[in-house]
Amino acid sequence: MSDIICARDLVKRYGALTAVDGISFSVRAGECFGFLGPNGAGKTTTIRMITCVSPVTGGELTVDGMDVRREPRRIKGAIGVVPQENNLDPDLSVRQNLQVYGRYFDLPPRLVNERIGEALELFQLSHRQDDRIASLSSGMQRRLTIARGLINSPRILVLDEPTTGLDPQARHMVWQKLRQLRSQGVTMLLTTHYMEEAAHLCDRLVIIFQGKIIAEETPAALIDRFAGREVVEVHVGEAERRPLMERLDAMDGVTVEEVEDIIYVYVRAGDGIDAAALKLEASKVVYRRPNLEDVFLRLTGRGLQE
């Protein structure tokens, strides 16, 4: 597979603030690539540079072989953008929204109408095509926003937090549609702060923290590498905390993170330790499989920062 997006030492500064601090990554054609990170980490800023709406301060960035500094219009013509905020035209109908959007790409109306039919079908909105935007649920509006991003048949679909603010059912429906698109060969680039979303959708992901990439892997490999085989979540009161920490500090083969009132004990695959054998006692002890959230805790040491 060839690289379709390539960033080298990419920097974005706003005055004295460095939002993106020299990141390098590449996205392969046909994969779903995720930017995972807390709010303010630099995910959206990176996306804005890739979609040519925010000028690059330093470094290099090419999209589909084109330099973002030189050919913004051509790049924008080749990608589909699904923004974080809903910016559909509220006074136009579902179908009109797509028609107007297709015109921005200078596509012939006949072609646009064909694609609108397909997109509405795919996102199960055909029966609502003449309705105003305000009458749609937020899940439908998000589906429509994704459908709108597909009007130019983009090689790359860029999604900025595609399911933020959706209820679980709507979220699962969006995920299913995105998997379907991925299986059709659309390269997808998404940002999220939902670990579950990244695990569900992404082939590979990078974790961005304070403007830097701190890890890059497949979701499974990340979990394996940073969170290990098992996690024990120990909910402790003030009194129990110190003796427990002393005991854990003395143990080999476990890693410990404290986040607020919970102590996370990570057991690595190669260490031959059985979590149950640790016999941790506290008001509440949960044994579970590690997930991406644990990778986060390990990497940032403090959990998700707002």
Partner: protein, 266 residues
């Protein structure tokens, strides 16, 4: 692939293209959805003004030239009501699209540039002015207040004045911090232009300093030209009026492009 990192130039020429028309079309489509509620002010207000000032007040007014007062104000209304339409569109309308509906964000994610958006907005503002001027021209013609077939040239001139007022308005919108802060613009610039640009009385009635101020005001020149066209009394000085408006368009279109870019591209 190899590429050379280019230093971002501090100045770059505005990237305006024909795609600005796509933005114009978008606004037109929304207008065609909403025209029934949008149309009421521009339709009712000029007629009320003609009745109240032209017929009502006009009965008490005697102009030095002997011209009936209603005939005096009619061409002025051709200048100032479209000014209101174009300015309001690129004031409240543009601000709402930019900040509340985030329409600009949606558009610039496509091959349409920020400069195309600005240009399309100004062209649409001018179109609203043209719609208003067409309507008023029909009304005053039916009222018998137009003396010359040259009046039809009001429409092309309105394209110029529309672009002018739309550019001035969008320049202010580009630095407006909230939708209510636009009130300053309308209170301090548009309303004085409405009342003091020689529409309701000859500017010679103003004190000398007032006449000087009025000369700089773009609306004064628009009213002058419309007066000439509807009466058929064209004069070389009208070319000067047009030239001044072209200069104002140049200044404020450039300002709108520059200032909006600064606001939108971050």
């Amino acid at each position: 692939m190899t590429s050379i990192a280019l230093r971002r130039p501090t100045f770059r020429w505005p990237d305006v293209s024909l795609r600005a028309l796509r933005v114009w079309q978008r606004n037109r489509d929304v207008y065609l959805q909403l025209w029934k509620s949008e149309i009421i002010w521009p339709v009712v207000e000029p007629v009320i003004t003609l009745f109240a000032l032209g017929v009502g007040l006009g009965g008490l007014v005697e102009l030095e030239s002997g011209q009936p007062y209603i005939e005096f104000i009619a061409p002025g209304l051709l200048a100032v009501w479209p000014m209101w339409s174009a300015s309001a569109e690129c004031g409240w309308g543009s601000f709402f699209r930019m900040e509340n509906q985030r329409t600009y964000d949606a558009i610039v994610a496509t091959p349409v540039s920020v400069e195309d958006v600005i240009t399309g907005e100004i062209l649409w503002g001018a179109t609203r002015g043209l719609i208003s001027a067409t309507y008023i021209l029909v009304v005053i013609t039916a009222w018998g207040l137009v003396d010359s077939p040259l009046a039809i040239l009001v429409l092309p001139v309105t394209v110029l004045t529309g672009v002018m007022f739309a550019s001035i308005s969008l320049s202010y919108t580009s630095v407006a911090w909230s939708i209510s802060s636009l009130n300053y613009f309308f209170a301090v610039f548009i309303t004085p232009m409405f009342w003091l640009s020689g529409v309701f009385f000859p500017i010679e009635r103003l004190p000398e300093w007032g006449q000087t101020v009025a000369w700089w005001i773009p609306a004064t020149h628009a009213a002058e030209v419309y007066r000439g066209l509807t009466s058929g009394n064209l004069h070389w000085s009208h070319l000067g009026d047009i030239a001044w408006m072209v200069v104002v368009v140049g200044i404020f279109y450039a300002l709108a492009l520059f200032s909006m870019r600064r606001r939108l591209v971050k």
